[in-house]
């Protein structure tokens, strides 16, 4: 280390001289190249040197500025305080880096894509700075810094450096780079709404402005093309018109855009901000659609890609209305807020207030007039369903800032509707559900700002609506009219949940739509709208009944049929004694379940069915006092998939006690076949001559072998019973 440090120190002893010579050489080279600039061709490897320009340019800028400032400050007599040696070194470094910056900048300027005017001045300023600084360094010995000439040179240098640097900045970042943020904040974004936007003015032109105007404007007009106005665009440039829809590539504009980026003729030139894919599609669609300057965005089909582009560009603007009044005193707003009257600003920052009223019963006219202190801030009032009278309209008309007023289903008759003409800013007015008339509404057309009026469900007749629809200015919302609409009613509802009717429990039905007529039958036929009895009072039944009902009403189609089977139970057995035990899985609550008066759901596992498979179902029903019976009903279940079949045979025995029973009736139920529905309630009624009975015995025998079509063919079937009723 030590051995080497000495010669290297000597080698660098005159490093200033070496640098000076090198700088001198490079300046010579630069001037030489300048002279032969026209014939110059930059080899590709030198492009990298050019691109080092932004890397080096800041050194000379700062260093030469420092030296110039030093020169300005330095005083006579020159003393050690002024560090002349250091200053000399500064100038040398500045000179050297300046020439490197100038040289690389010169190489870079040969690349495409820089704005010509600015580049011209920047290039020459850079070269002047470089050459001048080496001259300054060379003559420094003869020109002491405290001389007035030195000061002048220093000031000139500062100016040259600042101007040159600024132009360079403009070249890279664009001319308004520095000032853009200021302009943006001072000029609020005035976004146009989707409905009012034009394809050219609001979509195409902004793209051209951003990406093309920089070179194609009145000052530059590269290729003799200017793009700022409709006329200039249509005129085209030196290569002809910009578009030609008869060509596959749609003409010059899009052809240039679609050229590869490396192509010299690609637009915008390499190095400039490029068009996005969406913007290219936009331009192409616009040209394809005839490059109209007047077409509205809302007129294009939603399938057109421009429509979506427009949605993304124009949508989402928070076009908040700006109001020319100042906010109300928040204390006053708070004071006037009640549980039934909400007053709120639209947003935390907004001076505009809206008012909503609630609770019809609590409303007084003074609730509106009390708001007078806020009349200059209230822009919307919702009085829907409040008992607002015609007289109140006069009060409402004192709120000059109102834009939206909802009087839906209020009590106004419309007599003083013309009062509202004072509301010169009113845009939206709802009169739906009020008794207003055509003539009264027509008067409102004189409100210049009025855009939308809601007149659904008013006294205005259907024929009269046509007159209003003629109005160009106001959009009348007439809403839904039911006169011509005929729908089917929904079926009536049978209110009794319990299917077993004991005693005199009436059967009740209802329908929610007022004015509906329910017609029903109990004989198994379908109820019709003419002959079937009308349900007007609860129905009392004396035997098992299949109730079918439908609803009818004028202006509606009849409903679907609803039906329900009711089982009559006149005598409840005092006790039930099972002779055979049910299967352990389905034993419910034993015999009690058979006489509990509750019909089970069709779910076999619901826990209220008695199931038999291995043995017959056999049970006694016992009465303490003899009853005069004429029928016994068994409520059973069919669930074909669950192997639950009707019994093959039912026997009903009766007598005064267990020992004196007589066979009263035998039933052989119909067996299901393949086509029978899977699950159903089964009701078997055994009727016999009326007689006094104290003891009834019921037997039901399960099917021994399931039929061949059944998946469980040959196996035993189940019988399920949940209720035995005596009438």
């Amino acid at each position: 280390m030590n051995s080497k440090s000495k010669p290297s120190h000597q080698y660098f002893a005159d490093w200033k001289g070496i640098i000076y010579n090198l700088a001198f050489f490079l300046n010579g080279l630069l001037v030489f190249l300048l002279v032969f600039e026209e014939r110059l061709s930059i080899p590709f490897w030198m492009q990298s040197i050019g691109r080092m320009h932004p890397l080096v340019l800041h050194f000379p800028l700062v260093v030469l500025l420092l030296y110039s400032i030093w020169t300005l400050l330095v005083g006579k007599p020159e003393s050690t305080r002024w560090n002349s040696d250091l200053a000399d070194t500064l100038l040398l470094i500045g000179t050297f880096t300046a020439v490197i910056a100038a040289f690389s900048g010169f190489v870079l300027s040969k690349e495409e894509g820089y704005e010509a005017d600015t580049l011209f001045w920047h290039k020459w300023l850079g070269i002047v700075i470089s050459v001048a600084s080496i001259v300054w360094y060379s003559t420094g010995k003869y020109l002491p810094p405290w001389k007035i000439l030195s000061k002048i040179i220093a000031v000139s240098f500062i100016l040259l450096l600042l101007i040159g640097g600024h132009l360079g900045g403009n070249l890279t970042h664009g001319e308004d780079f520095l000032t853009a943020p200021l302009e943006l904040s001072s000029e609020p974004e005035n976004k146009i709404s989707f409905e009012e936007a034009k394809v050219y003015a609001d979509l195409v032109q902004p793209v051209l402005k951003q990406k093309c105007y920089a070179c194609h404007n009145a000052e530059k007009s590269k290729g003799d093309l200017q793009m700022q106005t409709k006329e200039l665009l249509t005129k085209g440039g030196k290569n002809g018109a910009l578009w030609d829809t008869t060509r596959a590539d749609l003409g010059l504009l899009l052809a240039r855009v679609h050229l590869p980026l490396d192509d010299k003729k690609h637009m915008p030139p390499r190095g400039k901000a490029q068009l996005t894919d969406e913007e290219i599609v936009l331009l192409a669609e616009w040209v394809k659609g005839g490059s109209s300057f007047e077409q509205m965005v809302s007129a294009i089909s939603p399938q057109n890609p421009v429509y979506n582009y427009a949605q993304n560009i124009l949508g989402g603007s928070r076009t908040e209305e700006s109001y020319d009044f100042s906010a109300a005193d928040p204390g006053k707003v708070k004071e006037l807020n009640t549980t039934y009257r909400l007053i709120k600003p639209y947003s935390a920052e907004s001076p505009a207030l809206f008012v909503n009223f609630y609770n019809r019963a609590a409303f007084k006219s003074s609730d509106i007039s009390d708001l007078a202190p806020l009349k200059d801030q209230i822009v919307a009032m919702d009085l829907s369903k409040m008992p607002v009278k015609d007289e109140d309209l006069k009060t409402i008309a004192q709120f000059p800032e109102l834009r939206k007023l909802l009087l839906t289903f209020t009590d106004i008759q419309g007599r003083s509707l013309s009062e509202l003409k004072k509301l010169t800013k009113l845009r939206e007015l709802s009169l739906s559900g009020t008794a207003i008339k055509l003539a009264q509404v027509k008067e409102l057309e004189s409100i210049p700002s009025l855009k939308k009026v809601f007149i659904w469900s008013t006294d205005i007749q259907q024929e009269e609506l046509a007159q209003l629809k003629k109005s160009r200015k106001i959009d009348f919302e007439t809403g839904f009219r039911s006169d011509t609409v005929v729908l089917a009613l929904n079926p009536p509802i049978i209110e009794n949940e319990e299917q077993i009717i004991s005693g005199n429990t009436p059967i009740k039905m209802k329908h929610q739509i007022p004015g509906t007529v329910i017609r029903y039958t109990i004989d198994g036929t379908e109820p019709d709208s003419i002959n079937a009895p009308v349900y007007d009072k609860p129905i009392l039944i004396s035997k098992n009944t299949d109730l079918k009902a439908k609803a009818f009403k004028k202006g509606w189609y009849g409903s679907k049929q609803v039906d329900k089977t009711f089982l009559k139970s006149t005598y409840r057995a005092d006790s039930v004694r099972l002779i055979t035990e049910p299967d352990a899985k389905y034993k419910a609550k034993g015999g009690k379940s058979l006489a509990d008066g509750v019909k089970s759901s069709a779910e076999p596992g619901s826990g209220s069915w008695l199931g038999y498979r291995e043995t017959d179902f056999q049970s006694y029903l016992l009465f303490k006092k003899p009853v005069k019976a004429s029928s016994v009903t068994l409520s059973m279940l069919r669930n074909v998939g669950g192997f639950i079949f009707p019994p093959v045979r039912i026997e009903v025995w009766g007598g005064s006690d267990e020992k004196s029973l007589k066979l009263l009736k035998t039933i052989t139920p119909q067996m299901p076949d393949k086509t029978t529905s899977n699950v159903d309630d089964l009701v078997f009624e055994a009727d016999f001559a009326p007689q006094e009975i104290s003891c009834i015995k019921v037997i039901a025998r399960p099917l021994a072998k399931l039929p061949a079509w059944h998946p469980g063919k040959g196996q035993k079937a189940w019988v399920f019973v949940d209720e035995v009723l005596v009438n």
Partner: protein, 485 residues
């Protein structure tokens, strides 16, 4: 050197000190102008300030009615017309289209994924020319009021996480529901009703449960919890005072109770106590406000015909739509409906017919009704499920019967009113209806857009809980400008 240090020491006077100090303080003061939150301690905004600053900007919509179709309706049979599926009916879904999409446990073991074309006819409707299925004649008639988004996508593939994601912005539970966020951010318009109401109904199709965690207030104050209305004749139970107690006595009782509660509150400081007091007060006011709203008998016949006759049968979807309109009209900030029964894994054509019968007329009626009252522009109505259904068949495919599994990658939801663009179709899926090819809308984006319509910046509506600030959109979400009018 030591001397220099010494000289420096004795030459620094108070004047030097003060002038340097003023410069230092001055620079800090200037800097602080650029960092407005600097002196707010931890840069943490006060929670009260957050709410006081709401809404952030003037809202387009004041209220939301969310018609949630629980179980996920098949977009391919209702909104997203894909004739390619009919052409390739029965052929296998190309692997390149599925692109590694995970499957549910229900179809993961299927050997084939045969494409299933819809058996229902589609036609274009309205000025917008949107394709709609024959199952939805009423919605088709108002298609120019709808903003149909065909490109919604979610992250979850099963009902519970997907539902929870849609309702709370997170797949795990216990985050506040969207309605709670709005109640927290904007409060209730009507002091006599809850700000967030929930109405349930179920169709006959294969159903999936709904549960109270979907309308939870999470870590927000419990006054923001969704209030579930019961589906029976009396949507709110026990509104009447018991026999022998009049309003004045009830008032006195509540005042005394509130006094006791205040005492307990000053002792323990549990905010749930004040929430409770507020809830009692609300219940007291609801005693008069609710009967007026739930009484359907005064609705004119034209309304019954508009919503369909079922709208007077309590507990049906149609009745809930009508009730939703009445609640919203009375200033309820967020009305959330759930209609169950859309989970058609098998026998879809039959099930979906029934479901559409339930919802088509009354959903469309709600839009028409709000419109004719002048309320549609300030009410945002949303219709959709938690995800979509697959383009391939689950189970056995026949010519006219199929089932569809869950599909999170692309599905359809529509909005209407509330400052969204009417009569547009946003987003696009590929010709198989499987992937989104244009303008995807993620659930977070969807939430951000809804909040925007209500005047809320989704990045600023926050609540600090357990040391972290939470948002409905978590750390994601992008406003979908193309949906906004």
């Amino acid at each position: 050197m030591e001397k220099q240090v010494f000289d420096f020491g004795i030459n620094t006077t108070r004047r030097h000190f003060l002038s340097k100090l003023s410069l230092g303080v001055g620079s800090a003061a200037l800097g602080s102008l650029l960092i407005p939150d600097l002196f707010r301690g931890n840069g943490e905004p006060n929670m009260d300030d957050i709410v006081a600053g709401l809404p952030h900007f003037a809202p387009k919509a004041k209220r939301v009615i969310y018609l949630f179709q629980n179980g996920a309706p098949s977009q391919l049979d209702l909104f997203d017309y894909k004739p390619m599926l009919n052409k390739m009916h029965g052929e296998d879904l190309p692997e390149s289209i599925r692109g590694g999409q995970r499957l549910t446990g229900m179809t993961a073991n299927q050997a084939k994924f045969p494409l299933a074309g819809s058996v229902f006819k589609f036609a274009q409707h309205g000025k917008s020319g949107a394709w709609m299925s024959e199952l939805l004649p009423h919605m088709s008639s108002i298609v120019d009021d709808l903003c149909i988004i065909r490109s919604l996508n979610t992250e979850a593939i099963n009902h519970d996480p997907a539902l929870t994601f849609f309702q709370t912005g997170a797949q795990v539970g216990n985050r506040p529901s969207m309605g709670s966020w709005l109640s927290y951010g904007l409060g209730s318009e009507n002091q006599n009703l809850p700000g967030f109401c929930v109405l349930l109904s179920r169709g006959k199709g294969n159903g999936q449960g709904v549960y109270s965690k979907l309308w939870t207030n999470g870590f927000l104050d419990s006054v923001h919890q969704g209030v579930q209305f019961s589906s029976g004749e009396n949507p709110v139970l026990y509104l009447n005072d018991p026999d022998g107690m009049d309003r004045a006595q009830r008032r006195k009782m509540l005042d005394k109770l509130s006094e006791l509660n205040q005492g307990t509150f000053s002792e323990f400081g549990d905010p749930e106590i004040t929430a409770k007091v507020q809830q009692y007060e609300m219940a007291f006011r609801m005693q008069t406000a609710v009967p007026e709203i739930t009484d359907m008998s005064k609705e004119p016949e034209s309304i019954v015909k508009l919503y369909g006759p079922e709208c007077l049968v309590p507990g049906t979807y149609a009745a809930n739509c009508l009730l939703a309109r009445k609640l919203s009209e009375q200033g309820v900030r967020f009305v959330q409906l759930y209609h169950q029964g859309w989970d058609s894994h098998g026998g879809l054509p039959n099930e979906i017919k029934g479901q559409c019968m339930d919802v088509d007329q009354s959903s469309a009626a709600l839009i028409t009704d709000l419109k004719q009252r002048g309320l549609l522009d300030e009410t945002l109505v949303i219709w959709g499920g938690e995800f979509g259904r697959t383009n391939y068949c689950q189970g056995t495919l026949t010519k006219d019967n199929y089932g569809r599994d869950h599909h999170p990658r692309a599905f359809t939801v529509w909005m209407a009113g509330g400052g969204v663009k009417p009569g547009i179709v946003y987003g696009e899926t590929d010709e198989f209806g499987y992937n989104i090819v244009k303008d995807p809308v993620h659930v977070h984006d969807f939430h951000a857009t809804i909040l925007n319509q209500l005047g809320l910046d989704h990045e600023k509506l926050v609540f600090k809980h357990q040391g972290r600030r939470y948002r409905l959109t978590d750390v994601a979400g992008k406003l979908v400008k193309g949906l906004i009018a």
